[in-house]
Symmetry: D2
Subunit: 411 residues, 4 copies
């Protein structure tokens, strides 16, 4: 095994767990530029979901506690205005936990892109990790290589940036007071934690002001961009001394859009980083939000079946929207769901879970042809064990079963 | 040259030119399933734009005449409810016209995604075709392989489908009566033509009812999806006997989003098709809108620099939108524009034209993390003659000039 | 069609046809660096093969006349020791001749990689070009995108280089005097031509000294490298003033190895070039033989079934060779042939023709593990209409027929 | 971390270490079809090489002990004539040993492709693993994603097959008795081991008959095919009851050809498998040697600079060979070496080590154009930190240093 002499493993840094973004959360560890280090991450819910065959844990999930973030990690020499270069060198599950999950939340507890359309009830699929591949006993007939990535990664905001976030999101909430699910989430002291000993005064301040972790923002955050798979290099704006990088919500795989919200293959695991600093990079690169270079090992599912959608809700009430790419994405996704249901006999739950979790691609087609934005969604053919192409004869139908549902049987 | 004996070239079908969608426009030619045939297409404006160095023709373009479509072509045996399989076998410019153009329209005449933000003035770039590549004397420093495709392709609507379109778009227009540019375009007899001899009664009906060609719809139409490049196989729903396929708006290349509206490399040329029919395919495949299989020869620009955007207008007034992927796309694009301007000294015009025309990719990242949809936009590194990566030292700046502008010098 | 005004098509240069390499063949046209120009090429045999359904023309082919090369083209300013940069901008068949052929030669007339093993009789397949795709009535069940390229392209040799070739190949011939097929081809005045008016003295000299065109050499020549597909940029050493580039033997497609010798899809057509010069490039780049940058539009047949071969002739007499990659390539190819025969019911002829013509990849695995070199050969799955993967149940067998054979029925 | 409850890690099977192929070596563990399991592997030399800065360990390596193989593993139900399907689910280094090495052996002790040409002296490079990437302090200026794979994997031979190997290789050795390095390696009792308690009689038999592990053969073995990277599915012929799969010689990365013999990035680590059986597969698939499906995560280094080589030893004595792909591969490699030396100032050692270890591709171009086989070798541009393309101005030269050499300074 080559001699063990002189083998120096990369260090695993002590993790701090926090669930709010705030400049006053101190770094729990400091690294030097160039150093390779590892961070352990719990899954985003903090171990609320089990490797079993019903979805009661999904139904009852407590979302005030999310997301569980590891960090912050300070980088020596980073100052506001710099660009923090982060190499995502690897993302793997824990060796002892080779599994993850994808869930559909209830409309009243978490929601998801189609929560209202489908009056969603809790459902889930457990995925088994077999090396680079995932399969699921709850969604038979598919297997795919993971594009493992952090769903959530970002630098700490400055006080000014945090204030901007709270102001603009507060205004949006004020415009939609009774929305279900809510349009955004204001600071909430209940459930807030910082993962280290801090004075009551500071903790209270963080609870009252700290930004919730659900949306992505200018610092990165919960962008859920599957293109950040292991091997990527990211350029983050730095807002506070040390940059204070936090990370969590590891995904074994995810489709573009992550439509069910708990839609990636959520997992616990280890992420390996190295960093460097480009002084004054925010100004140099006009950096309003992170930019990145994708990894060279993006799985090559080059054959795919592509669905279009436009900004008309023709799967719903037929309403014409004005250049709305979100509506167009939904139609493309619903076209794919209908296809899988009709052609391959997948249930609505199963196709939703699959399309959230598998390496599905969604492109913005054209966004200038009034009034219809056009968005496409592509199913990679290579993930199916059977040929799903449109043919005169059609797919050989078989029973692909139903994913894990509530123990009371409500679907 | 192999003996010329027994060489049978593919026929070029007589073209009919029309610019409205209506079931009463008769087919101008009929093909059999399996036959390979060619269609000649003028550019979408009908030769209003010239190969020269000012943008006055863009400023004065007459948009009542667009789009110039070739067809309709009937396919023997196709009936409503069938699926028409169309192989886009090739898309090439005319040998005698190895050039195309990309334009930015004025806010008051055509607009575009950023027309309001930039109070757009007319600008354009002429692209020279050199085999599979395009270069531009107006945008020096770049060269890329074309992903040639039809911007506009679709089957004829039935009377019922046409009525649905007119109703829903009429309602949208009614809600936004004074919008500049307008949110949608109602039927308009002025400028309508059908490309063949028809009775006055029929022509009047078509002028009064015929759908305008700007948006993509359930039949395909102007989806401007660059994934339809030559080599693709498309599955269209059939709404009228014969299917009545029409095509136009050929693009030598286009970026995802086609942001300047006249944003692809617009060209005149020839498209080669073959077709087949799957009986009852609409029902079999739950076909609400075309689906397709992309070509195997998608240019491999695997190295790219990716920009994120979220649904906050931080390049404008800072407003928080609610899960709006269109706003997120715009921020990602503006981040890329700012980068090219800052790092590479591209002008706003040049970077806009380039990103509209080049094989830029835009993915829907996540569309479930309230309130921020996240969209990415990727610049392929291989299209630039210089290294554009973020580095400490930065790009060696040089003067990339300015594209063609108005002869009165207004920009 | 965008206005035709100011449209300047790329010029097609007058072709000169020659079939020997010699420094005294004058250029038939001169181009400037940067100019885009086209060259028309006959097929490599000079129209000896017809679009019909027997292989008599293959059986009787006259190989003293080959290859038919277009050129030479001089580039202004190129001098010995420079590097000539050649952009292969496009390669297309003639519009009026949308077909090509692949042949298996007789052992006594042309041979091929397996001519001796199979005691080859003449066979051929005609391929129909449908846009970017080829299909064959003689090899049903497959369709693939062409990787069109010139099989033969090179600069003219200097007198010294030519003398080196003739000396070393003469020595090889002397060692294998009675070999069938011959191991190499010495200069041969019979059948030599130069495509232009020259003095008898010069023509006699060229006939006596001119190198035959079959092998690739230091100047390029008949390398039959499919990686030179349209869109590639090549760097050639220059040996004579003007560089004197010649080209021919266009291929619509070819597999790595081109095993049947007439193994690509041979076609007549048009190649589009532009050139530039790097002064002193031979010394600068240590240029012993051309180097090149492949095109970005290599067809993406990423799923493939790979066969191994080692340097043991286990398909023949079982002999152990010493690190012989040629033997290893042959075993890998024979393994694939056996697979197609057993699993898919392809005939020996059909699988040979298919593997010569389709985008088959062959890699040198390892060439250091004595005594066995290992070479792989990969069949792209996407070219077959049926699933050819190994499964318990196996492929649904059907009759794929037989390619065109001799009219006397001998196979 | 998702609840730890119900998490079942994949088992790591007890390893047996052997270094000969023989049917009488009993399986050390048995698995069921479908089971996921892990195998630990030492590096191929058995820890003879250290993580340090001189090459004395390479100079003095004891090659009688190689290769160290883990196994054999029996698969329940496998019988001679079956096809054993092996999924290579993952290949990773040990977490505690994030490094590997590439070496150049001395001509008299191990050799390598260019051992004679260069009168090779020992040299080596240590590679540090940083997640999916490798870098080397001994070869600065490059970084690349690993295509990790087993260099050596195979099923146990039957007594008949073993006899065939020994006979044919013995004949080759007899023809080249004094060759340095030797052309092949006969059975050798000295140094043979079987990794378990066996009777003296059986051990003696294995020592006297057991095939050495250097070459790949019909059962797989040391094929050193980099296309077997993690995620591949392989189909092996079964020759003995249980199939008795053995594996070793893990590579973090390797270039096509593995030119320095110890040319991959050699590492110790863990390989994850699952298996299944196709009854009678040898006959069904005409299986003479393994076939396989590559992984979808092949690193996408699509931009590359390609070198050609032909079967003339123009880097040596200029001799003309007859269709010899091995000679052609060597010229292509030497062209690349010369280029890196001239253009980028890499030393001969460094370019050799780099090209052995990095994801270099080598294709068989054409193998039918007498007398010159043509082979290409492609350097991926994305692995270099600097632009290595040929330009007028050339590469900015810098000192890339020298790899680890002998402590006596001899190079």
């Amino acid at each position: 095994m080559a001699t063990a002499a002189n083998s120096v493993p990369h260090p695993t840094l002590v993790k701090g767990l926090h669930n709010r973004w705030h400049p006053d959360i101190p770094a729990v560890a400091t690294v030097k530029p160039g150093e390779v280090f590892k961070i352990e991450c719990v899954d985003w819910t903090g171990a609320q979901i089990g490797n079993n065959d019903n979805s009661d844990d999904i139904k009852n999930v407590d979302l005030t506690k999310i997301h569980n973030l590891s960090g912050p990690i300070a980088v020596e020499g980073a100052e506001p205005g710099d660009c923090l270069v982060v190499d995502i060198l690897d993302v793997t599950p824990f060796e002892k936990m080779p599994w993850g999950y994808t869930g559909i939340f209830e409309l009243e507890n978490g929601g998801g892109l189609f929560a209202r359309e489908f009056n969603s009830k809790a459902a889930k699929a457990i995925w088994d990790f077999k090396g680079i591949y995932a399969t699921s006993r709850h969604i038979p007939g598919v297997r795919f290589a993971g594009v493992s990535h952090p769903g959530l990664i970002g630098t700490a905001p400055s006080a000014e940036l945090l204030a901007t976030w709270n102001k603009r999101e507060g205004e949006l909430i004020a415009e939609h007071v009774n929305s279900v699910p809510p349009v955004a989430f204001p600071p909430e002291p209940i459930g807030a934690y910082v993962g280290q000993e801090l004075s009551e005064e500071v903790k209270t301040k963080i609870g009252k002001e700290g930004a919730r972790t659900i949306p992505g923002r200018e610092h990165g955050g919960n962008c859920d961009v599957r293109e950040l798979f292991r091997g990527s290099r990211c350029y983050f704006p730095v807002f506070v001394k040390g940059a204070n990088l936090s990370v969590g919500d590891l995904h074994f795989s995810q489709g573009d859009g992550e439509m069910t919200f708990c839609g990636a293959i959520e997992m616990a695991g280890i992420i390996t980083f190295s960093t460097s600093i480009i002084k004054g990079g925010v100004e140099k690169f006009a950096l309003k939000q992170p930019i990145f270079l994708p990894s060279p090992i993006d799985p090559l599912y080059s054959s795919k079946l592509v669905f279009e959608g436009i900004s008309v809700d023709y799967h719903g009430d037929g309403k014409q929207y004005n250049m709305d790419a979100t509506v167009a994405y939904k139609q493309a996704a619903l076209n794919a769901v209908a296809y899988l249901e009709k052609v391959c006999t997948f249930t609505l739950f199963n196709s939703n879970l699959l399309m959230s979790a598998a390496p599905v691609e969604s492109h913005v087609g054209a966004i200038v042809d009034s009034p219809n934005a056009c968005v496409t969604l592509a199913l990679p053919l290579g993930i199916f064990e059977h040929d799903i192409l449109p043919t005169e004869a059609g797919f050989t139908k078989k029973d692909f079963g139903q994913c894990a549902i509530r123990s009371d049987g409500v679907v």
